[in-house]
């Protein structure tokens, strides 16, 4: 079956795409920057972080670029003032929801949330911060799970399920109380399903899952798609 080639506009620039492509894929192919946090090439798109929201002409709604397919003659706007304001606010909400202290974080200088704050100019947080004190699980021989730094992007859960194929990690509770859990909410060290592949640590955009005794700058794989898919991306 052949896939139809279509034309659309992103930020006024005319581009061609395959019908099944998402707005994010087409934008990236054409070097148009749309920020993302929960998206990771090679994993299913969640549309959870909402950083990639874009405007589509003719619709009052906003669409997550990572999980919205393009259509013929679509006109996408990725960088309006209101979108930039929403994105800054999303970063502020993420920073305020848990105890994010970059200066003492293992992910300092290798953190996508920290980078996003810089790029978007989120130089302060207007909301009162929640100073969470969730229990840290360091029972695993090599890995640590610190829910206080988690932004609930679920990349770790998806990579564990879709790439490693074991589904050791999952999510419990709802909303701000959500937490990544091991098996049926058991200590990581007692898990029989975990293969200790450490993919979860490699895909964590922040410092919520990390390898013991190492700074993230040492362990983080900058070529994430290569790591996840076993190939170099573009």
């Amino acid at each position: 079956m052949s896939v139809r080639t279509i034309k659309l506009k992103i930020d006024g620039k005319e581009v061609t795409a395959q019908e099944a492509d998402t707005i994010l894929e087409v934008a990236r192919e054409n070097e148009i920057f749309i920020p993302t946090l929960c998206y990771l090439e090679g994993l299913t798109s969640l549309g959870g972080c909402r950083l990639c929201l874009v405007e589509v002409k003719g619709s009052p709604k906003l669409f997550p670029a990572c999980s919205t397919a393009v259509s013929n003659r679509m006109e996408v706007i990725t960088n309006s003032d209101s979108l930039m304001e929403y994105r800054r606010m999303i970063v502020e909400l993420l920073l305020s929801e848990r105890t994010h202290i970059c200066a003492v974080c293992v992910a300092n200088d290798s953190c996508e949330l920290q980078e996003m704050a810089t790029e978007l100019g989120t130089d302060h947080v207007r909301f009162n911060r929640k100073w969470t004190n969730h229990k840290i699980d360091s029972s695993h021989e090599n890995l640590v799970l610190d829910p206080n730094r988690c932004i609930l992007c679920t990349r770790c859960i998806r990579v564990c399920d879709e790439v490693e194929g074991v589904h050791t990690l999952d999510l419990k509770m709802r909303g701000k109380d959500s937490q990544v859990i091991i098996d049926l909410d058991e200590p990581w060290g007692a898990s029989n399903s975990c293969t200790s592949c450490m993919k979860c640590a490699a895909v964590c955009p922040v410092g919520a899952i990390y390898i013991k005794g190492k700074a993230l700058s040492e362990t983080k794989d900058k070529e994430l798609p290569e790591f996840v898919l076993g190939r170099r991306c573009r």
Partner: protein
């Protein structure tokens, strides 16, 4: 002959490690240029005890941790035209606010530090300013005009913001700073 009036600059040190002030001093020879344009009217670097009136720009390092700092911050705001939060403690609470995770309670913090973990003579200090329940960033108490995140913010960034403010421009922070 110097005819233009010098800008009245103040720097304040609340609950922080003084690293931000060290970074301020790291502006090195640019401080000489700065000194031609400003008069330093209050700072941990000069010997003036009370915060003066009519200050043009005040740079504050550190989070607000106790009642003395809370009162000083309110006084500073009333006497300052432009207030700048310098560094992560002033902007986010940072390391100073790590204690908040201990039940958001001054009592829990004091007991942990001076009783539970004391090897000898355990006693909660008296005759010192009362600890606030939470350490908090400046803008949770007063209006802050500009923010310079970083732990500490690099001297170049401090210099950039000051230079912009001294020439009555608005500093643009996008892509220039980094938390931590």
């Amino acid at each position: 002959m110097e005819t233009t009036k010098k800008i009245r600059l103040a720097t304040v040190w609340l609950s922080g490690c003084s690293g931000c002030h060290m970074s301020f001093l790291d502006q090195d020879e640019r401080l000489i240029e700065l000194a031609k344009k400003v008069q330093l009217v209050y700072s941990p670097l000069v010997d003036i005890k009370t915060f003066p009136e009519d200050v043009d720009i005040t740079i504050i390092e550190g989070a607000v941790g106790n009642e003395e700092q809370l009162n000083l911050l309110k006084q500073v705001r009333m006497r300052t035209k432009v207030l700048v939060a310098l560094g992560d403690c002033a902007v986010t609470g940072n390391v100073t606010a790590l204690r908040n995770a201990l039940n958001n309670s001054a009592k829990s913090v004091l007991e942990r530090a001076y009783v539970e973990t004391a090897d000898m003579n355990s006693q909660i200090p008296i005759d010192v300013p009362k600890l606030l329940e939470q350490a908090c960033p400046l803008h949770e108490i007063v209006k802050v005009d500009y923010y310079i995140p970083g732990c500490p913010p690099p001297a170049d960034l401090i210099n950039y913001v000051l230079t912009e403010l001294l020439s009555r421009k608005t500093p643009s922070m996008e892509g220039r700073f980094k938390y931590g």
